[in-house]
């Protein structure tokens, strides 16, 4: 086993421990919230007797440690339990939701990375130009606009007034445009700013001057030499932003009625659907851990000087 494999194994163990920690924290947090899931499910009109029966059905009458034990034992077998709200297995409920969230988050991530890197690079090659200032202003707006407000504004313009795009839902290609733009706005701004500063630093370095001196075209200098060297901080931000996108999906999905995990999480918290909340948070955490790992591994691909161990 070489050092790389050792590194991977180490990261894997750390990831599992992280997720275990997350599972315990979430397990306790949802139960610390006031409110009885059985009563929420049954509604105001139900009698106490019916509520008690639901409580027993859900296993909520058992001690906490027993509930956590059952949760872990099931988890080990890949079973996240049954949703209290819908009586369906959490895994079955999550699968299509995860797909929808990933579709949205990945589209936004690609959009954010492409637009952000492009804009940042253009600004860095024309520092203190009108374009640069315009970009600074736009990114400032992008960072400060609340997702919720931006989403509604886009809906009013593109769905209500222009009637170009659907206001909500996930059917058809067109429906992803507005939620993906909304979700990407914050990240585009951040990635553009990071790209600009990272590029500015690299463009001042000697090897860039050498490249130019040996007669390479400006485009080649920027794309092949500068950008590649400026990429480490950029990829870090892109990776971190993917986590932010998953978080941002909660709001974006609510505004656009996008049938993802974010929307489900909100519903599940408000109905105290313990199993579902645990499942969603675990999946979100696992994704985040995974993306971080991928980013770390990307460093070596971009910069051969980086070794793991």
């Amino acid at each position: 086993m070489n050092r790389f494999h050792g590194y991977l194994a180490q990261r894997f163990v750390a990831s599992v421990l992280t997720l275990l920690g997350v599972s315990l924290i979430v397990f306790l947090m949802v139960r610390l919230l006031p409110g009885d899931p059985a009563r929420v499910i049954a509604g105001l009109l139900a009698t106490e007797e019916d509520v008690a029966r639901i409580r027993t059905d859900l296993g909520l009458d058992r001690p906490l440690y027993a509930q956590y034990g059952i949760f872990l034992a099931r988890l080990a077998r890949g079973n996240l339990g049954v949703s209290a709200r819908t009586s369906q297995p959490v895994i079955a409920e999550l699968r299509p939701r995860l797909a929808a969230t990933l579709r949205l988050a990945l589209t936004s991530a690609v959009l954010a990375a492409a637009l952000g890197i492009l804009a940042g690079t253009l600004a860095a090659t024309r520092p203190y130009s009108t374009f640069d200032y315009a970009l600074s202003l736009t990114t400032l707006l992008g960072v400060s606009m609340p997702v919720y407000w931006l989403g509604l504004m886009l809906i009013i313009v593109f769905a209500v007034h222009l009637n170009w795009l659907p206001a909500a839902g996930s059917e058809g290609l067109a429906s992803i445009v507005l939620p993906a733009l909304t979700l990407a706005a914050f990240s585009v701004a951040l990635i553009a700013r990071m790209t600009r500063s990272s590029m500015l630093e690299v463009l001042r370095q000697d090897f860039v001057r050498t490249a130019r001196a040996k007669g390479l075209g400006e485009r080649l200098v920027v794309a092949r030499h500068a950008l590649k060297n400026a990429f480490i901080p950029i990829i870090t931000v892109v990776g971190l932003q993917f986590g932010a996108l998953l978080g941002g999906a909660v709001l974006t999905e609510s505004v656009f009625g996008w049938p993802g995990m974010g929307l489900l999480l909100v519903e599940s918290i408000f109905s105290r659907d313990y199993a579902m909340v645990q499942g969603i948070v675990l999946v979100f955490s696992a994704l985040f851990v995974l993306v971080n790992l991928v980013v770390d591994l990307c460093y070596a691909v971009i910069d051969p000087r980086i070794h793991y161990g």
Binding site: V40, T47, P96, A168, R272
Partner: protein
């Protein structure tokens, strides 16, 4: 330079092509004219009639499943799968004559056996039935294929009314272990209704299609799609963009603007939901009837309805909505701060007395805003309300706490909508047998005469006598004021001016099965 300009031109052309493609895709998006699209606010937690607890879910289910009796838009009980019924003299036995020639969507016949199977399931303790109380079922007997005899555990006059509830809808017994269904949990409803379940996309939509062997009048639209859009402003955008034909619960502050918009119609449907502030009579000074009356006089309900609810409510004049059987006008508490102050003085309540006041946020139309307005009025008469809010599950764990000595709430903003239009379930709110934790009579009001009437009226088989009993009860409760009576909420429905024949049922349901394009 030239090179860069041509590449910019190319990029511009490309972006225009991309935009054109997007527009084309978007335009292709909306479904054909034969589809009726509805935007609802919540994703159904279940499609199993017996498990449903929300009117939105019931509203969707009503397209596919039918009940033995039916509540019409006027709020009256009509025959549906049962053509007629008789009640025994003691009110414990009902004999139902069933409609003949009706088939379920799976082709199996609807008959007495199917009814027995469904009602047996409704009373089966192994099946999760959150609202079982209105159905005191003891035994269901098949007399012949078109007749069932139902015996109850206690006399219940409103039982036929209770059968209008979607909870008691009839599904195909043969489908209980097919289409992914289980006896304990049915998610593919096979009923006898005008529409057949087609597809469910969780978190997104439920689609139903016309049932060509439907026994009754056929609807116009081939397909109905219920789209799940939790955000009210987005639902409003959908209807304004013409991307849905009907929506429920728009942002309430937009009601005036929607009313002026010729592209849509607004239906402020009467409902059965009373909105009130429960006064915990076990907490001083709320034990004193003069204090409770003072609170009722202190608040200008009409002003709150106009300025906070934008007209989407009517002031209460009885402890129940006018749409319920048993309603009679019980009185009014005219806005009169001087009288309120006088009553407080008589009761010895000092100015500046602090009273905790909790309210939910976002559960009922404008609940937070209305609570703040009420608090303002109470300050005017020298009461210092201590406002607090929390999310719904936390909220009900507080108002549902019991017995009385364990409660912490004093004033609590609440809504109550009985799931069938009869005073029996509403008046439980004033019955001492329903004090928390047994029930949700959150004001812990106790009056011997009222207690007696609640039980007697539920059993009384003579409708006129029943009405008189509920009227007596209402007047007593009204003057004892265990609630700060606010208003009966209206249920706002917005639909496209391009469709017509949209109605509502006075229990927060839209009735658009027979909607059709406007000429």
């Amino acid at each position: 330079m030239l090179d860069s300009r041509s590449s910019r031109a190319r990029a511009w052309r490309l972006s225009r092509v991309a935009l054109a493609v997007l527009v084309a895709v978007a335009l292709a998006g909306p479904a054909s004219a034969a589809t009726f699209r509805v935007a609802i606010g919540i994703d159904p937690d279940t499609l199993d009639p017996v498990q449903n607890t929300t009117t939105t879910v019931a509203n969707v289910l009503d397209y596919m499943v039918e009940t033995l009796t039916f509540l019409d838009p006027k709020g009256e009980v009509r025959p549906m799968l049962a053509e007629s019924w008789t009640m025994s003299a003691d009110g414990t036995q009902y004999t139902l004559k069933l409609r003949k020639g009706v088939t379920f969507h799976d082709g199996t016949p609807f008959d007495a056996k199917a009814v027995k199977w469904n009602l047996d399931r409704l009373k089966d303790p192994n099946v999760r039935v959150p609202v079982r109380a209105p159905f005191p079922l003891k035994e269901i007997e098949v007399v012949d294929p078109a007749t069932v005899k139902i015996t109850l555990t206690r006399p219940s006059a409103p039982f036929v009314m209770a059968l209008t509830s979607t909870t008691a809808a009839i599904v195909s017994p043969a489908a209980a272990d097919q289409y992914g269904n289980e006896y304990k949990n049915m998610q593919h409803p096979i009923g006898t209704g005008p529409y057949v379940f087609k597809e469910r996309k969780k978190g997104e939509s439920v689609t139903v299609g016309l049932y060509d062997k439907y026994w009754g009048k056929k609807p116009v639209y081939d397909t109905v799609v219920f789209r799940v859009v939790p955000e009210a402003a987005t639902r409003e955008s959908l209807i304004l963009a013409g991307q849905v034909d009907l929506m429920v619960l728009p942002p309430i502050a937009d009601l005036p603007a929607l009313g002026r918009n010729p592209a849509v119609k607004v239906l402020l449907a009467p409902s059965n939901r009373t909105i009130f502030i429960s006064l915990n009579t076990t907490k001083p000074p709320l034990g004193d009837v003069r204090v409770r009356q003072a609170l009722n006089y202190a608040v200008d309900k009409q002003a709150i309805i106009q300025n906070v609810l934008f007209g989407a409510a009517d002031p209460m004049d009885a402890p129940m909505a006018p749409s319920l059987f048993g309603y009679c006008k019980a009185g009014t508490y005219e806005f009169n701060p001087a009288q309120a102050k006088q009553l407080l003085l008589e009761a010895g309540v000092k100015p500046g007395t602090k009273i905790p006041f909790i309210h939910p946020t976002g559960r009922y139309v404008q609940d937070k805003e209305a609570s703040q307005a009420v608090a303002g009025y109470l300050r005017e008469i020298g009461i210092e309300p201590e406002l607090a809010t929390m999310d719904w599950p936390s909220y009900i764990s507080i108002v549902n706490a019991g017995p009385a000595e364990k409660t912490t709430h004093h004033l609590a903003y609440l809504g109550w909508a009985p799931n069938f239009l009869d005073a029996s379930m509403q008046t439980l709110q004033f019955w001492s047998g329903y004090h928390p934790p047994a029930g949700l009579a959150t004001s812990f009001y106790k009056d011997a005469r009222v207690d007696e009437l609640v039980v007697a009226a539920d059993r009384e088989s003579n409708p006129e006598k029943r009405k008189a009993m509920y009227c007596d009860l209402s007047k007593k409760v009204w003057s004892d004021a265990p609630w700060l009576f606010l208003y009966v909420q209206r249920f706002p429905i917005v639909y496209s001016a391009k469709v017509t024949d949209v109605a509502s049922i006075p229990n927060e349901k839209f009735y658009a099965v027979y909607a059709r394009p406007a000429q």
